[in-house]
């Protein structure tokens, strides 16, 4: 098996773990962390194709991952602010109890 395929399988496993966590857990913070894991899995794919791809001369993969990390950081900040706002309204971060749109 080529190293590229092994890297892609690792990333696929990380994506599965993140997806299962985001779907199983009822806590908003853990759902957000599952989404972060899935974003990290996508970044692993970019690095794997940059390192083992057929034309490794450019920096495109690394630049793509850098922007991915920046966007994921922004997403984490906004998501956790939403979690705190949710907690202020209903004193709980359980998603099953977040059934009202009006505060």
């Amino acid at each position: 098996m080529s190293p590229l395929a092994i890297c892609l399988l690792i990333s696929c496993g990380l994506f599965g773990v993140g997806l299962a966590g985001a779907l199983c857990r009822g806590n908003a913070i853990l759902v957000l962390l599952g989404i972060e894991l899935m974003l990290n899995a996508a970044n692993l794919n970019f690095v794997a194709f940059w390192r083992f791809g057929p034309s490794p001369s450019t920096a495109t993969g690394v630049v793509f991952v850098l922007f991915g990390i920046a966007v994921a950081a922004a997403e984490a900040a906004v998501g956790l602010a939403l979690v705190i706002a949710l907690y202020r309204h209903q004193r709980s971060v359980r998603l099953a109890e977040a059934v009202r749109l009006r505060g």
Partner: protein, 172 residues
């Protein structure tokens, strides 16, 4: 080379799985720090040192701190007692099944794809070259990323700030 990758994979996937399975949120956050460190180790293994340091700075350093703050700020009320268990094991089983199914489909697609043989030498990408690329060909995208970060931080402050005003009192 491959044994190192296997060790990194075990660390990465094991820490992520334990983090998603723990009941204690703080334990989850700390295990996730380990998983993100594993991702940084993968970047180092692949020869992308700059990305590894960016991953350590952004995830292991910053995002984990923000997550820990959020966990500590949103503790359940002491009077509320133990939160009721999630809606039975059905939801957990369904989530696990969906995750495993998606992972299996992707893995099958990866295994069925004939990849062209890899280049033997790692691509030589110095940090200087990366900086030139970022400020040259990708300068516009860099500016947009800066704007996105600024707007996201302003939005986070606005969202998390307490709503003051005459019409609102604390719902607690």
């Amino acid at each position: 080379m491959i044994p190192v990758l296997a060790a990194i994979a075990v660390l990465l996937l094991g820490a992520a799985a334990v983090a998603m399975a723990r009941r204690n949120l703080i334990h989850s956050a700390l295990w996730l720090v380990l998983a993100w460190g594993g991702v940084a180790a993968f970047y180092l293994w692949a020869g992308a040192e700059f990305l590894a340091f960016a991953q350590v700075l952004v995830y292991v350093g910053a995002v984990s701190m923000v997550v820990l703050f959020a966990v500590l700020l949103t503790r359940p009320r002491p009077g509320a007692g133990e939160a009721p268990a999630a809606a039975g094991p059905g939801r957990a089983i369904a989530g696990l099944a969906v995750g495993a199914l998606v992972a299996a489909v992707i893995a099958r697609a990866v295994l069925a794809t004939p990849f062209s043989p890899a280049a033997e030498a790692a691509p030589a990408l110095t940090t200087r070259r990366l900086g030139v690329e970022l400020m040259g060909a990708h300068a516009g995208a860099l500016l947009v990323a800066g704007v996105i970060l600024t707007v996201a931080l302003l939005g986070a402050v606005v969202l998390a700030a307490p709503e003051s005003g005459p019409g609102r009192d604390d719902p607690a």
